[in-house]
């Protein structure tokens, strides 16, 4: 069993997230592993944990990211959770990639990993907390020609068939597909494990492989600004709200609330 977990290095949602020249600022020290990717790592590690001893010994979980060098921080966290291998695709040509370019580059890196043996499963989080598009997992699946089982809140693998339960806006669905497949997990799927001390120490010195676009065999014209089909032309912070009108409830708080709503024609 070989599983590739796609992880992303994103600005910490508690930090001051911002744009410069219409690009998201990804300064070292304010970036982190996308929190929702911890659910993806957990799902992958649980699948491996559920294998019998021989299969587990032969299994490999690879954490893969598209990022500049500081993206190593995301891969170190993946190592702390227990992955076997960390790979970073770094190339100046990737800057400005849209959803399609991002998916093309990730899929190319998965295909490159397949040069050493088949990849049975690609796992992702349900969204990246910077862009929140939630569409890259499905795009990667199409690039790889594999079925996508997305937004899973329950994951089970038996006899090479993946089964997920998910809640969409319209329905609760059970989906199945034989491996190889692409899986994205919701934040309700599991509780990510805490890294143990041994893994934290080991993660510091683990090797991180760095690949360029040429290494993964992708034409630079398909990604980054060159391949993008949309362009961000403007980014500005929204004006600050006026000072909050704060009422201490001394028995009339509900009345004050209703009056505020009526005064602003919100009823």
């Amino acid at each position: 069993m070989r599983i590739v977990v796609l992880v992303k290095y994103v600005p910490d949602i508690n930090a001051d997230r911002r744009f410069e020249d219409c690009r998201v600022v990804r300064s070292p020290g304010e970036g982190t592993l996308n929190e929702l990717d911890e659910n993806a790592l957990e799902a992958a590690l649980r699948i491996v944990d559920s294998l019998d001893d021989d299969a587990r010994a032969a299994a490999e979980v690879v954490a893969l990211t598209l990022a500049p060098e500081q993206g190593d921080l995301a891969l170190r966290k993946a190592y702390q959770m227990g992955v076997d291998r960390g790979v970073r695709v770094t190339d100046d040509a990737l800057a400005g990639s849209d959803y399609a370019g991002t998916a093309a580059a990730l899929a190319a890196a998965v295909r490159r990993l397949e040069a050493d043996g088949p990849v049975d499963l690609v796992v992702t989080g349900m969204a990246a907390l910077d862009g929140l598009g939630s569409v890259v997992p499905a795009l990667v699946a199409t690039e790889l020609g594999r079925p996508a089982l997305t937004f899973a809140k329950k994951v089970a693998l038996a006899d090479g068939v993946l089964e997920v339960v998910r809640e969409t806006d319209e329905a609760t669905e059970t989906l199945t597909a034989p491996l190889p497949a692409v899986l994205s997990v919701a934040d309700t799927a599991n509780t990510p494990r805490m890294p143990n001390f041994k893994l934290i120490m080991a993660a510091r010195t683990k090797t991180i492989e760095a690949w360029s676009l040429a290494d993964v065999g992708l034409d630079a014209g398909l990604v980054g600004d060159a391949g993008a089909r949309t362009a961000t032309t403007h980014a500005a912070p929204r004006p600050a709200k006026p000072e909050v009108e704060l009422v201490q409830d001394k028995g009339e708080g509900g009345k004050a609330l209703a009056e505020f709503l009526l005064r602003h024609d919100l009823v």
Binding site: G133, L139, G145, A231, T232, A236, V247, D249, K255
Partner: protein, 325 residues
């Protein structure tokens, strides 16, 4: 107004919800609006589409094995949208910003080699006639503008972006079938249980007013529902409250993202996750007994107090006001 063709995704096709009426309103400002479905629209839906200026509904004729529950899979919806664009030579595709529609739109864009904007909070055109999507990102703290640089533009649009308006004149709506083949590998849908909607309340995604309850409710959503009834609001929860099993759907950047006219947070501290899902709301009101709750930093009006006292009192005043109208 130009001679553009704008396709609006209608899935499911049993009713035309307010988010779809918004898309039709946006679409009419950009060109001629047509609808795309994967099943027969209901009689009511056709009447509403006609009132909103839709002369043609393009209904996918799917292979037999995809006519059941599988027709809602994003790969199937994407193939339908891509085929509809090719058939009509459409310039723009609009869909609501649900997780399913977002995937379908992105996949259709991939098939067509066209630019995609997800979660637009506004759609317009620039001086060169290119389609432009505005977005609210980073928990609603930044506004960005993205221009689509391909001939075809596909966008998912958040609810409450515009006030839906019917067309100046109603039209007769024709349904035209068109064949769709799907070659992407798909999962099998072994079970599908549709969400039963509460007819008495608007949906969280579409409501103009949203009230969400958090840890401060202690599990009792009675006061929250009471005020929601008085205001005709949708009810949601914080992620914590859902994880506690107190409520079923949460407002947050990974739950339902809302941007209503009015958002009321009751007993919600305003953790970054939750703020990411509601901070783009036009007016934010909070009720919390903790004067240090971070949500107070981002709201317009706040009451420091016990929500079990404050909410019913507010509901009573609002009911009295409505009765007097």
């Amino acid at each position: 107004m130009t001679n553009r063709t704008v396709l609006v995704l209608l899935d499911p096709a049993g009713e035309v919800r307010s988010s779809i009426l918004e898309l039709l309103t946006i679409g009419r400002a950009l060109g001629r609006v047509e609808a795309v479905t994967l099943e027969s629209p209901s009689v009511e839906a056709l009447a509403q589409l006609g009132a909103h200026g839709v002369e043609t509904v393009h209904q996918a004729e799917l292979p037999a094995d995809l006519r059941g529950d599988a027709r809602h899979l994003s790969g199937v919806v994407a193939a339908t949208l891509a085929a509809a664009v090719r058939r009509t030579d459409a310039d723009v595709v609009l869909a609501p910003s649900t997780f399913a529609a977002k995937e379908a739109v992105a996949l259709a864009g991939q098939a067509l080699g066209a630019g995609v904007v997800i979660d637009a909070a506004g759609v317009s055109e620039d001086e060169q006639g290119r389609i432009v999507g505005t977005k609210r990102v980073f928990a609603g703290s930044w506004d960005t503008t993205s221009v689509v640089t391909t001939d075809v533009a596909l966008l998912t649009v958040r609810a409450n972006t515009v006030v839906p308006k019917p067309a100046d004149a109603a039209v007769a709506t024709e349904v035209e079938g068109f064949a769709v083949s799907v070659d992407a590998p798909l999962p099998t849908v072994t079970q599908r249980v549709p969400v039963v909607r509460d007819a008495a309340r608007p949906t969280l995604e579409e409501a103009a007013t949203v009230i969400a309850g958090g840890r401060g409710t202690g599990g009792d959503f009675g006061p929250v529902e009471d005020l929601a009834d008085a205001l005709g609001a949708a009810v949601g929860a914080s992620r914590d409250a859902v994880f506690e099993g107190w409520f079923d759907r949460y407002v947050g950047q990974t739950g339902v993202t809302v941007a209503p006219r009015l958002y009321i947070g009751a007993g919600i501290s305003g953790a970054p996750h939750h703020r990411g899902g509601m901070q783009a709301s036009q007016v934010i009101v909070a009720v919390n007994s903790d004067p240090e709750a971070p949500i107070f930093e981002i709201c317009d009006f706040a009451v420091v107090g016990d929500l079990a006292d404050v909410l019913p009192q507010a509901a009573e005043v609002i009911r009295a006001h409505k009765a007097a109208r």
